[in-house]
């Protein structure tokens, strides 16, 4: 994983609750995707969610910014409950950043415009200030020199780093990552993970759906294993990997680490 030692000085889990999910259920038609999920995320936590495909892990984090609607139970994000109220949804979305598997950059806008669009239109930040912020975060993800190119001109890894910068420009308090490295060539995975690690070092609250177990071991303070729409096991990383309790977890770990 990261060559340099990870700086844990700012990685503090506070007592403040960032996300509170209680008895949450979701169905796709007849199919029960999420079953009675309960979860509390403290501010500053770095959580890795893993599990076999179809286990509901992506759906779970997509419920947190209402890209998916839950049908029962309660989701509180920074004290705001997600209901049909559009005002609440917009409020939560502007506080929660999201990074997608396929980057989802806007191909008709330059990198800089991708990063300034939401601050200008949602946060009503003046254009110049938004551009300065954008350049700051683009430098942070180490691609300030690409600012005037279009997404199609960048490699996958660069695009994903821009997507992270784009989310950061909204100054979110929570970041959701939905398999951020799954669509990348092996050579590019590391640059994205390094960006995510440096974000963790700054104390960002992060929920990360990923199969990068090295990342989980290096920065996560909690690993959640999901199967069939429910949380099967959660623990701190060392215990999770070295001493899994459930048979399902053991099988899963042996399949992804065994070769």
């Amino acid at each position: 994983m990261a060559e340099h030692a990870i700086d844990r000085s700012k990685m503090k889990v506070s007592d403040e609750v960032a996300i509170q999910i209680t008895n949450m259920n979701k169905w796709y038609g007849q199919f029960h995707v999420l079953r009675d999920v309960n979860m509390t995320v403290q501010k500053g936590e770095r959580i890795v969610i893993c599990g076999p495909s179809g286990s509901g892990k992506s759906t779970l984090i997509r419920c947190i910014n209402r890209l998916e609607e839950h049908q029962s139970g309660q989701i509180l994000v920074d004290g705001t409950e997600l209901t049909n109220d559009l005002k609440n949804i917009d409020k939560v979305r502007s506080e929660v950043g999201m990074v997608f598997q396929h980057f989802n950059l806007f191909p008709h806008l330059t990198i800089l415009e991708n990063c300034t669009l939401a601050p200008i239109w949602v946060r009503k930040v003046p254009k110049k200030e938004a551009e300065e912020t954008a350049m700051h975060f683009l430098s942070k993800v180490k691609i300030p020199d690409q600012a005037h190119k279009y997404p199609g001109q960048l490699s996958g890894g660069q695009q994903q780093r821009v997507a992270i910068a784009r989310s950061l420009c909204m100054k979110p308090r929570i970041m959701l990552f939905d398999e951020p490295t799954s669509a990348l060539d092996p050579e590019m995975i590391k640059e994205v993970l390094d960006t995510m690690i440096s974000l963790a070092e700054e104390g960002m609250t992060m929920l990360c759906v990923t199969h990068e177990m090295g990342f989980a071991q290096a920065v996560a303070n909690r690993v959640i294993f999901m199967d069939k729409g429910q949380i099967v096991e959660q623990n701190e990383p060392r215990a999770f990997f070295n001493n899994p309790q459930s048979e399902r977890t053991k099988l899963f770990l042996s399949q992804i680490l065994g070769h």
């Binding site: 979305r93 997608f100 989802n104 939401a118 949602v122 279009y150 784009r166």
Partner: protein, 435 residues
């Protein structure tokens, strides 16, 4: 076990220029025209067909006559110069009647008015077509419709000015209502307020302003319009109105709101299911029944409205295709960043969907412009059938056949080809995906 020699490359190869046989004209000919027996035969057949057309059309064009007062005179000149039985084009007709092809029965001392309006059209559409021009020019684009209406139809300047105020009423009502009721409801309220303005305030307000400051041009009736003046008036208005309407219909068709969706689908399917000529007859005959009694609705305006509806339904479907081509991730990314529905549509979805739909949209526009000749069916003098009939009714030009169609056709071609080239340029300019 296969035999092989272990090998390690120590030097990487530099790229080299392709061999000479891969370039040049002969290679091009061989590859494109004579690559095999079938292609060779097809090339020769094509050449023969081309030769046949040129050998027939060539002399006819070469024998063109430009100075004559009648078709008979034309024929005499051709027979005298090229011998008995020679055929030739009689463009003298165009020389004699070009003004009717352009203006119909518009009074000739007033030709400067449509001409000025046409020249201003380019100024007005330039900032729309070329985004690098200063945005302030769009102000001129905004007043252009009222100005042109006044130039073309004449009368009091206050009629179009007060009509434009209706849009101002819409803007005010919309802005006041929007924070409270959201976009769709406020747009509805605005539309109602604007209709009320046009129905009840328009005439008295215009009359009062006219009595205070009378500014008038000689008025020209709609039945004096004809030729390309008519085609361009209908075409340009319908094109510029059908695009926004098509966008709204496409969004309406994908809306979550049942009423909006049903109305949009109903409108699109009804209009697409009915021939344009039916709609034009509706415009000329039936529309009168649906309007409040006593309102005398101009025939050209009625035709414009129906042609706009017709084009908008097609454009809505073209844009729906563009919307369907966008990956779901674009909507999700816009949502995740906290953009609301209209911001997401305006900033993320529409710019991309419209870009994908450019060829289809421009095809619809070209179709619409050519369809303006169908107004001949409701008694308007379109340049193709209407004016040609009038010209042929003249004893001097009785019997002329190809020339009027070629003349009108080539003007249509110029305009449509121009639109097509513009759309190709726009597609290249907007290409940012670097695939």
């Amino acid at each position: 076990m296969g035999e092989f020699t272990p090998f390690v490359r120590t030097e990487m190869l530099a790229p080299q220029a392709p061999p000479v046989s891969q370039r040049g004209a002969i290679r091009w000919l061989r590859e494109n025209l004579f690559s095999g027996p079938l292609n060779t035969v097809l090339t020769l057949l094509g050449l023969a067909a081309l030769l046949w057309v040129v050998s027939h059309l060539g002399p006819w064009l070469l024998h063109s006559v430009w100075n004559a007062n009648s078709l008979t005179e034309c024929r005499e000149i051709i027979a005298a110069t090229w011998g008995e039985g020679a055929s030739g084009a009689c463009w003298a007709m165009v020389r004699d009647r070009w003004h009717q092809y352009l203006f119909g029965f518009y009074p000739s001392p007033l030709y400067w008015r449509p001409t000025l309006a046409f020249a201003l059209l380019f100024v007005a559409i330039a900032p729309v077509l070329y985004s690098q021009l200063p945005r302030k020019l769009l102000l001129l684009t905004a007043v252009y419709p009222a100005l042109t209406f006044w130039l073309l139809w004449g009368g009091s300047i206050w009629v179009p000015v007060v009509a434009m105020m209706g849009f101002g009423v819409f803007a005010v009502v919309f802005r006041l209502a929007q924070p409270r009721f959201g976009v769709p409801v406020s747009a509805g309220l605005g539309a109602v307020a604007t209709s009320l303005w046009w129905m009840f305030a328009q005439a008295p307000v215009a009359a009062v302003l006219q009595s205070i400051a009378p500014v008038t041009l000689t008025s020209v009736d709609s039945d004096q319009f004809g030729g390309f003046l008519l085609s361009v008036v209908i075409g340009v208005t319908a094109i510029s109105a059908s695009l926004p309407m098509g966008i709204l219909l496409a969004l309406g068709r994908k809306s979550d709101m049942l009423l909006v969706r049903t109305l949009s689908v109903g409108f699109i399917e009804f209009i697409r299911g009915v021939p344009l000529i039916t709609l034009l007859f509706t415009a000329s005959l039936l529309l009168q029944y649906f309007l409040p009694p006593g309102s005398d609705f101009d025939i050209i305006l009625r035709v414009i409205i129906l042609v706009t509806f017709f084009a908008a339904a097609y454009i809505a479907e073209v844009i729906r295709g563009g919307l369907a081509a966008l990956p779901r991730g674009q909507y999700e990314a816009a949502d995740a960043l906290g953009l609301d529905y209209w911001q997401a549509q305006r900033l993320i979805i529409m710019p991309q969907a419209l870009k994908i739909s450019i060829p289809g949209i421009v095809s619809s526009f070209i179709g619409l412009f050519k369809d303006t000749t169908l107004v001949a069916f409701v008694g308007l003098n379109d340049p193709l059938k209407g004016i040609t009939q009038i010209v042929r009714a003249d004893i001097n030009w009785k019997g002329i056949y190809w020339e009027p169609y070629l003349f009108a056709g080539s003007i249509f071609f110029l305009i449509c080809f121009g639109m097509s080239r513009y759309s190709m340029w726009l597609e290249r300019k907007l290409k940012t995906d670097h695939r």
